[in-house]
Symmetry: C2
Subunit: 322 residues, 2 copies
């Protein structure tokens, strides 16, 4: 695969890789000034976007190119899952160094196309340019029927739930950083870090059944994201440290700290009114659902470790923290 | 203005600056996982996005911070103008060096807010992170009634028109690069480069009257953009070199070369069927409209300089050209 002679070359390779099925609502995709989109009757459009930047979110010499393609879309789609929506199409903006425009770019497109097919989210447009580092920006357009899941609906006394296992992706990142060369998805932690699975079916189910009073996805880590949910809802929270669903691959207390603060899990965090607790299963579609605490009236978030209460500081991922 | 302690600080400053009117179709803006959007009945949603990167699209030591804010939104909105649409809201993704998070950031937000108000395009969400260079990515969401203006409708014999004056922004860029320090909008060329005006009213008028068979905006330069319109329509073009509406500030032939290849004008390029030529005014809303050539059956684009024909190569802005 040769390097591109010009920007149109690059765009043609993207178009070729994504030729095929078109999302129903997408009236006009690649190749004009803008895309045209119309949601199904009764639906609202959900809009979200995410950076995915070399040397910040991924490393050229560590992350497989196809995992970069998969993950940049999957993590943006995760915001749609958190609203109980369905992804439909996306805009890919890409800045690429010339030396990566060959086989690296092919690997990237392969992973991106695989995510696009798996998540039902078609390429609708974007912008390309050249840069010394890979810059990726993804805008996802989805749709949701009435009553999208919001962050702001949690009420005092609601139970706090999470899906899946927390902290695995952070552990996978540590493994990846300590090894030489391109990582392989050799175990569950590395798979979770490299190829996250947005919880689309769970989000839709929670919305359809009107079971969640509030929901968001876990991208920066439970302690940081729960704080955002609490602020949006005007409430506090008490987390039961020992209830956290964490990995068994490291000692329990280390695993729980990873579960509290580790980023990149893309699990769902949601709250359920007490009266609906009986309707909550222990797993959904093979993903376990765990009650990890309770929404409180008082604002500071606390962790309850077998009766010992400690203030829970937001210590997840924050690019601006000193 | 102090540097931010964390990402939430930065987001709060953005929210504060954009507090106020909300776009009608925007059901949920900042502060949740995603924005919720619903176009007016009978309208489709128009989606477009653009990079605006330090050291590529602007220079920290040359461009005023408020011009960076204005231009990043104005140029993205220009794609909506080219479809005959109306911008409604936008997603701002921003990567910022810590040392610019103070007064530079305030200036940036001031210009962005001014563009947002002037263009009727409300902030709906985005993503922020830290980076050693400023990276800006804008996604604009607009709406358009049926029959959006597309690139693909030009037919043999259609007249080719452009709005405004071509090449001025490129001349403004040259002036800016040859001067020390932060540029001021001291003349028309610098104003055009720093504070471009998307041709929204013209685009809507062309769409409403169904006068344009094809349209796009001029971002990379006439020779590159016309080529895209010709490819999309499966036609060629003949441009009358001497008819190009160009600046009088440099010798005529230099001005015309700037007009052919200079980027960043954000004027509209459109085609009009011969039968409708009588309905075309010479100006619209104070912006002149100039007939510059004709769509041809034969594919290569040519320039006609007083009877002497030359092949027109796409020599506008291309980040990947060797």
């Amino acid at each position: 695969m040769t390097t591109p002679r010009n920007e149109n070359d690059l765009i043609r390779r993207i178009e070729k890789r994504f030729r095929g099925a078109r999302s129903k609502g997408l009236r006009l995709g690649l190749g004009d000034d803008a895309a045209l989109w119309r949601p199904r009757p009764g639906c609202e459009t959900v809009l979200t976007c995410d950076w995915f930047l070399e040397d910040c979110h991924f490393f050229r010499e560590k992350h497989p190119a196809d995992a970069v393609g998969w993950k940049c879309l999957a993590r943006a789609v995760s915001d749609i899952a958190a609203m109980g929506g369905q992804p439909r199409c996306f805009l890919l903006s890409l800045a690429l160094p010339r030396e990566l425009a060959g086989s690296w770019f092919d690997g990237f497109l392969l992973g991106l196309r695989r995510a696009s097919t798996a998540l039902g989210c078609e390429l609708a447009g974007g912008d390309t340019t050249r840069r010394d580092k890979v810059l990726i920006h993804i805008t996802v357009i989805g749709e949701v029927r009435r009553r999208a899941l919001l962050r702001s609906g949690a009420r005092t006394g609601d139970a706090i739930f999470v899906s899946g296992t927390l902290g695995e992706a952070e552990l996978g990142l540590r493994q990846l950083l300590h090894k030489q060369g391109i990582a392989r998805p050799a175990n569950q932690e590395l798979r979770k870090h490299l190829y996250p699975q947005p919880r689309l079916a769970l989000g839709r189910w929670l919305r359809d059944r009107q079971l969640a009073t509030a929901a968001m996805d876990l991208s920066d880590g439970l302690s940081s994201d729960l704080r955002r949910l609490c602020l949006a809802s005007g409430v506090g929270a008490r987390i039961d440290f020992r209830s956290l669903p964490v990995t068994g691959r490291v000692p329990p207390d280390e695993a729980r700290r990873l579960g509290l603060h580790g980023g990149d899990d893309y699990e769902l965090l949601f709250t359920v009114a007490k009266k609906n607790l009986g309707k909550m299963p222990t797993q959904f579609g093979g993903v376990k659902l765990t009650r990890i605490g309770e929404i409180t009236r008082s604002r500071p978030m606390v962790v309850d470790d077998a009766g010992k209460l400690q203030k829970l500081e937001a210590r997840g991922w924050d690019p601006f923290r000193s």
